[in-house]
């Protein structure tokens, strides 16, 4: 409850703030996840373009979404958001179309990165990082190496109580959908009920739901098999080379984090320059080496140390293979039934 009140007051205060903030033509205001771009980005950007960069941070997509919908996007030029949120912001008409003429570094993207399901041709969003969601496990602890989502949903006896699943609703359900051969964007009641029953059965075998510390649970040995985003599994692999990552045979979702320009941007040209700067090979390389995510920036991927491709198997997945996976899309009106189903799973004993 306290959190909700805080969110509301924050939104309220933000509304006040936005109306009094003044336009600064030579400044670009960006909101990103903390640590999701180089710390010295502002200095580098200033040196390259002469523009000032002001960086705000948001902890979650939902947080920046709340701020932007409460203020119409006032106060920000560029936002980093995951693709379903970029899609929702676009449908709410809060974004400025991307003008390729102003972002020459778009040429650094893989051709596949211009064919994303949520935005073919990058008309309102530019991809920054992308990857898969799969299984991360201790190869020295599990008796048989996992190959299927069912190895997580119905774990073998030796790893019962030693598995975790992502708590974030869309990915939690996606594991069930993929195991049942369904779309990750399913929202019809019969399918929801079916996946709900499976996930309630799975809940009894879980150590915990976890989307922040699952890789350290593998390192400490608390867990043997966890549901993981590929880059996060890499944090575990970096600490223990017995940790491995696999995309189950039924497939994965393709998640994409993107950059968008708000419609209310005070400095749309500066925003385009910022996105252009982020798409440089150096910044793409930084994402891979520091966040350990794959980037759709081909120039950046080409620049990384090739030993990373061997050590971190997700890095070697070809962009064409990524495109075979379905992206999570905004569910629109389907969200209510979806969210109720998730509550049913969470409340089950």
């Amino acid at each position: 409850m306290f959190k909700s009140i805080r969110t509301m007051t924050a939104a309220f205060a933000f509304g006040l703030l936005a109306t009094v903030s003044t336009a600064l033509a030579d400044k670009v205001v960006v909101s990103n996840w903390d640590g999701y771009m180089p710390k010295d980005m502002a200095e580098k950007f200033k040196a390259a373009t002469g523009l000032d960069l002001e960086v705000a941070v948001h902890a979650t997509n939902e947080e920046i979404m709340g701020k932007v919908t409460a203020s119409g996007g006032e106060g920000f030029d560029v936002l980093f958001v995951s693709s379903p949120f970029a899609e929702a912001l676009n449908k709410l008409q809060l974004l400025t179309p991307i003008d390729p003429a102003k972002i020459p570094n778009l040429k650094n993207l893989y051709p596949e990165a211009t064919q994303l399901q949520h935005d073919p041709g990058n008309t309102f969003s530019v991809p920054y990082a992308w990857g898969t969601t799969g299984l991360c496990y201790r190869s020295d602890v599990v008796k048989t190496e996992p190959t299927s989502w069912n190895d997580l949903l119905t774990p073998a006896d030796d790893i019962k109580g030693k598995t975790t699943m992502l708590a974030t609703d869309r990915w939690l359900m996606a594991a069930g959908f993929l195991a049942g051969g369904m779309s990750v964007n399913t929202a019809d009641q019969a399918s929801l009920d079916k996946v709900r029953d499976q996930l309630i059965a799975t809940k009894k075998t879980l150590l915990a739901y976890d989307d922040t510390t699952f890789y350290s649970k593998l390192v400490s040995g608390e867990a043997a098999l966890v549901h993981a985003w590929d880059g996060w599994c890499n944090y575990g692999i970096a600490e223990n080379d017995k940790i491995k990552y696999v995309v189950p045979k039924e497939g994965s979702d393709l998640w994409v984090d993107t950059m968008v320009i708000t419609k209310a941007a005070k400095n749309p040209d500066g925003a385009a320059k910022f996105i252009d700067f982020v798409l440089s090979a150096d910044n793409g390389k930084w994402v891979v080496e520091n966040i350990m995510y794959k980037t759709p920036n081909k120039a950046g991927m080409d620049a990384i140390d090739k030993s990373m491709l061997e050590k971190y198997p997700n890095m070697a997945i070809a962009p064409a293979d990524l495109l075979k996976y379905e992206q999570l899309r905004d569910l629109g009106d389907g969200m209510k039934a979806f969210s109720k189903t998730v509550s049913e799973i969470m409340a089950a004993k």
Partner: protein, 273 residues
């Protein structure tokens, strides 16, 4: 007076009214709020057995935490009140000391202690007392433990202050007139400190039922309390209207409890006078 009223208005009344207002609208298709169609749909949805079960479970866990906090906090407060006066401040200070550390850090400390590969389990296994790690974490036990640990100091403070206010000659008279130590406690001390017990209990219950961090971290997300449900509606489902409805219901429950506690305190005070 005026700054206090402004404070209450700006930080308490207005946000609460906003929440009540939101409860009567629908989520927009892409999040946000659809202001066009006021509706009672959210209230109907909140009456679904699913959500009532979550409310009921939260109340049950909060009540359990309250009872345990009272059982631990009351004797602690009693012992502090019986200690030499020069030690009392130091003892109360020690009871409050955990508040100097962030709630999250204290919660993570419990994870370090309780997890299957953690300090307690490795020691127990090293000593040969158990063969398999005990399931101490990611269950209801851990959640209740976390709540009791965090909120017992409130009981200690509340009970201590009502013990201080009690006239010491009353229990003395009871003993002089031949009542035993237990009888004196049950018939004199406990009734005279009922207001402190009620205040401490209300603190623990209200803070516990709305808590979402402890079920999330110590419960491993497997235990859904109403705080988590509200958090999810606001931040995951982006359904602010339904989150607001649930918040409104929770606020109403808390108000009723605080009101009952105030009435109880008044009665106890009246009888004393």
């Amino acid at each position: 007076m005026a700054p206090g009223v402004l404070w209450l208005l700006g930080l308490m009344v207005v946000p609460c009214l906003l929440i009540f207002l939101l409860a009567f609208f629908e989520r927009g298709t892409y999040g946000g709020i659809d202001w066009n169609a006021p509706t009672l749909e959210n209230l109907k949805r909140a009456a679904d057995p699913l959500y009532l079960t979550i409310f009921w479970d939260s109340a049950r866990i909060a009540l359990l935490a309250t009872i345990l906090a009272l059982l631990i906090g009351y004797p602690a407060a009693y012992a502090i009140s019986k200690a030499q006066e020069k030690h009392q401040t130091a003892l109360l200070f020690l009871a409050m000391l955990p508040f100097w550390t962030n709630y999250l850090i204290r919660t993570y400390a419990w994870i370090v202690l309780l997890n299957p590969a953690g300090l307690i389990n490795t020691q127990l296994m090293y000593l040969g007392l158990v063969k398999e790690p005990l399931p101490l974490l990611y269950n209801e036990f851990a959640v209740v433990l976390g709540l009791v640990y965090n909120y017992t100091p409130f009981v200690i403070l509340a009970v201590f202050s009502s013990l201080q206010r009690m006239d010491p000659s009353l229990p003395e008279a009871s003993r002089d007139l031949g009542a035993g130590a237990w009888t004196t406690f049950y018939r004199i001390t406990l009734p005279l400190t009922a207001a402190g017990v009620a205040a401490g209990a209300a603190f623990v219950f209200v803070l516990s039922i709305g808590n979402f961090i402890t079920p999330d971290l110590l419960g491993g997300g497997k235990l859904q309390m109403v705080g988590n449900l509200i958090y999810d509606q606001f931040l995951t489902a982006r359904d602010w209207p339904f989150g607001a409805t649930l918040s409104g219901l929770l606020i109403a429950i808390m108000m009723i409890l605080l009101f009952a506690q105030a009435v109880a305190a008044n009665r106890a005070g009246g009888r004393h006078a």
